[in-house]
């Protein structure tokens, strides 16, 4: 399997063309994403959905008989450009000047809305690829046969990219965009109202994505999952090429396409891993990407990070009382089972909220306190789940030791990932953590295949072989997880009275304990340095703090807590861990919860988890089919109108009431106390 197949020049050229074909679509997608980021600092998660919209419009145009492929190629992108412009006007505009983090919440909400809208209009059944007319069929050049469409994609991509380049180089619009992506303030100082150009920039990016979508639809079926499947590769291309660099997007797209193509062909076991390794490698050597400007990321220009710290209207003592009361309510909640509600509410929903609350708390430690936006936090959650389950499967079934194993493994990997990632900052950090998470997610899926390849070699060398670690997509489950060291009653089994279960109290205690430990950490000198880093990392380092080391330590603690959350979640998933535990969308969800609740407060994200999950449960249990869209709309409204999260609502109300008599207060000191 591992020996290299015979390679001829023809085959190599063949695969090179394959790589360019895929690469060109990446270029179209990434160019818009990169420009939008470069000029406006917007991390547009909905960019993939714009591509999907382009594809769907093309399908609609061709199937309704309005026009053929060529008409669709022109009309669909224009329509999507209008939608992109509207998106910028209505939702993104109110957020300028804030940290790019808020765009994650916003565009995450937009993704949900777009996906649901697409399913509502076009249904979930995939559509067949577009009829490309004269472009269908094959052509033989230099002795090998390829689809004519491949050549078309390459030519088309090159033409569009060249056109976009000309627009950027030769027009006033382009001049402003290029200048803006290097130094926005300078452009403003020159007296140019760069904000006016934002709508155009967004529409331009949407146009390019939609062209990509139509080109895609010419060779693959069009379904609702389309947008989600391209967004990660697109991010990788953008980061690889350098944020905000058009040249980078072109080079990155083609590079990824060609590398992917050759790896699939020559080293197939690296398939699915290589792009992430490529990105991690490039960022470690050139933290600003291939064509990014090293001076581009100015830490002073991050935009306003709206933590909810200090936005409470309650005194420390009253807040502490409230927190204690909350724990007391949770402690007696099971008594109401069968009377006020049934066991599902407590034993499933509340437990779920507690575990997600812990996960969100862990993220808040790095995101809310040091300003590190980890898009790969699901990695530690997933590793915690797998390690907990594997410990119970192969070593001892003890719940305590298994959870500790989950915590340790998550902390260890967090140390490694943190060591490598924290040297890059801002969005690059988000992306490199995302790449690590995806790397492991891919590994979990590929593990059975890798074992099949590696084990015979290990066996022949007399080394122990690798036991099943993930069982791929089937997931792996422990037969029993017990309270005792080697056996005894099972974790889920010990009932105190009827449906009142011991495990509920164990989880409650672990989550509350984790909160208290985190709170103490934040109130200690260590925590105050983290807050200083969030406020101004540069200043903190010039006070004499080794900020990198502090961030790494916070990252390890955070990873450990996320690992505990993952381990606990696995116990509630019938003792099973599966690749779903490493799905990057969970990273998005936990960021959303954190922002929704109010970051930088520790308790806010937990409240955010409760709000998020309660709303989701409400929608699901009432059988609302468009539950995702409703969630999306709530996020969008929230990020625009309640940016500091749920915990800031009391002070918002107070402000509203006070503002009739006097000017709104500037905000209170952010001395964090519970």
């Amino acid at each position: 399997m591992l020996e290299l197949p015979l390679v001829t020049a023809g085959e190599t050229l063949d695969q090179f063309i394959n790589g360019l074909t895929v690469g060109m679509v990446y270029v179209l997608l990434a160019a818009g994403l990169s420009i939008i980021f470069g000029v406006m600092d917007v991390i547009n998660f909905a960019h993939g959905e714009l591509l999907a919209l382009g594809a769907y419009f093309a399908v609609a145009i061709t199937t309704a008989g309005i026009g053929n492929f060529w008409v669709a190629l022109l009309v669909a992108p224009l329509a999507v450009a209008i939608i992109g412009g509207a998106m910028e006007r209505l939702t993104i505009r109110p957020l300028y000047g804030r940290d790019p983090l808020y765009h994650i919440l916003l565009t995450f909400g937009l993704v949900l809305i777009f996906v649901d809208a697409i399913e509502l209009i076009w249904g979930t059944q995939p559509f067949r690829p577009l009829d490309t007319g004269v472009l269908s069929g094959t052509i033989t050049i230099l002795g090998f046969q390829k689809t004519l469409y491949s050549y078309f994609v390459i030519v088309m991509g090159a033409v569009v990219a060249a056109g976009a380049w000309l627009v950027l180089e030769r027009t006033r619009f382009g001049l402003v965009v290029r200048a803006g992506s290097m130094d926005r303030d300078m452009v403003r100082h020159l007296g140019i109202d760069i904000d006016r150009y934002y709508t155009l920039v967004f529409a331009f990016g949407a146009f390019l994505a939609a062209v990509g979508g139509v080109v895609f639809a010419g060779r693959q079926s069009v379904g609702p999952g389309m947008g989600g499947s391209v967004i990660i590769p697109a991010f990788i291309v953008v980061v690889l090429g350098g944020l905000g660099s058009f040249r980078g997007a072109v080079a990155g797209g083609l590079l990824v396409g060609v590398v992917q193509s050759f790896v699939r062909w020559q080293v197939p076991f690296l398939e699915g891993l290589v792009v992430f390794l490529l990105m991690i490698g490039v960022l470690l050597i050139r933290p600003q990407g291939l064509f990014g400007s090293p001076e581009w990321h100015d830490p002073g220009e991050g935009g306003e990070l709206l933590t909810a710290a200090g936005s409470g209207v309650l005194s420390t003592r009253r807040r502490r009382l409230l927190g204690g009361g909350m724990v007391a309510v949770l402690a007696i909640a099971p008594l109401g089972i069968g009377v006020l509600y049934n066991s599902y509410v407590v034993n499933t929903i509340v437990v779920d909220i507690l575990i997600w609350g812990l996960f969100a708390l862990s993220l808040d430690l790095v995101m809310g306190y040091t300003g590190l936006v980890s898009l790969g936090h699901v990695l530690f959650y997933g590793l915690g789940a797998y390690a907990t389950v594997l410990f119970a499967v192969y070593l001892l079934p003890s719940i305590w030791l298994a959870l500790v194993a989950g915590i340790l493994v998550a902390a260890l990997i967090a140390w490694v990932v943190g060591y490598l990632s924290i040297r890059v900052s801002g969005v690059y950090f988000s992306m490199i953590t995302l790449a690590f998470a995806e790397l492991f997610a891919s590994l979990a899926l590929k593990m059975p295949g890798l074992r099949a390849q590696i084990n015979p070699t290990l066996d022949s060398l007399g080394l122990p072989t690798i036991p099943p670690l993930t069982n791929g997509d089937n997931g792996i489950g422990a037969d029993a997880i017990t309270y005792g060291l080697t056996g005894g009653p099972e974790f889920g089994d010990v009932s105190l009275l009827g449906e009142i279960h011991l495990y509920y109290y164990v989880i409650l205690a672990l989550v509350v304990g984790s909160y208290l430990v985190s709170r103490r950490l934040i109130d200690a000198p260590f925590g105050s340095v983290l807050q200083a880093i969030r406020e101004s990392e540069q200043r903190a380092s010039f006070l004499g703090y080794d900020t990198t080391m502090y961030k790494r330590r916070a990252f390890v603690v955070s990873g450990a807590l996320a690992g505990l959350a993952g381990g606990l979640r696995a116990t509630q998933n019938l003792g099973r861990a599966s690749p779903g535990f490493l799905d990057w969308l969970l990273s998005g969800e936990v960021i959303v919860m954190t922002l929704l609740g109010g970051m930088g407060t520790l308790y806010g994200p937990m409240i955010g988890a409760a709000g998020y999950l309660s709303l989701e449960e409400l929608l699901l249990s009432n059988g609302i089919d468009q539950w995702q869209g409703v969630l999306g709309i709530v996020f969008v409204l929230f990020v625009i109108f309640v940016p500091r999260g749920i915990v800031s609502i009391p002070s918002l109300v107070k402000q509203r009431m006070d503002s009739s008599s006097e000017a709104p207060p500037e905000g209170e000191p952010a001395e964090v106390s519970d």
Binding site: P525, V529, Q531, S536, G544, P669, A670
Partner: protein, 265 residues
Amino acid sequence: MATADDTTATFGGGEPVLETKGLTRRFGELVAVDDLDIEVGQGEFRSIIGPNGAGKTTLFNLISGALLPSEGSVVFEGEDVSQLRPHQRVHRGIGRSFQITNVFGGLTVRENVRLAAQAAIRERSPFENAFRHKDSFGDLNDRTDDVLARIGLDGRGHEQASTLAYGDRRRLEIGLVLATDPQLVMLDEPTAGMSAEETRATMELIGDVLGDRTVLLIEHDIELVMNASDRITVLNRGEELATGPPAAVAENEQVQQAYLGGGVL
């Protein structure tokens, strides 16, 4: 190197605290700092002046570690610190303030100072550092109170730093430098944007609280520089034009031509 008065003499007769040797920093084609050899003596009050783009802030960044040199070295108390990271240089005794006010705006005034004081006390156990409440360290509280009093912000510790008036924020900035207890204090335009009244008060504060330390100052206000400095270094296009006592620099023809354009001195 350009002619300069008396560049080799050390101040006060002792060993220089800070030396730059052939210090050079390029940004692409641009040479922001060009082959600088500067010596600053123990307890000296040295000002750096020069027109915009002369390389003053770049020099500060090179000394404090915000930038690494393209060539040459920075020697502090006999040790080459050129490759050290900023916090390591702070540990050696180099403290700096910033041209644009850079305090922790979201935190209280007291927390700002406390953080700086906390940074100066480094021999705590990791456990205490991570788990003991930050307000329970007596030495730290005393030191914080002391610094707050010296910068005249006592009684205002609970205010959020971002809500302070401009002049107060600059005082806080000086307080942050003071609290780290540096041997060499680098101040980057501490009076920029201040009224004449505020400027005088700030200079008095600097003289008061930092008087016994070695000070490196970037300042545009020539009168102020002339009054406060022991010696002045004039930079132009990254090169040293002259160094010497105020009077000598003021009379230097090259300086007058290049910098003052026939001047206001």
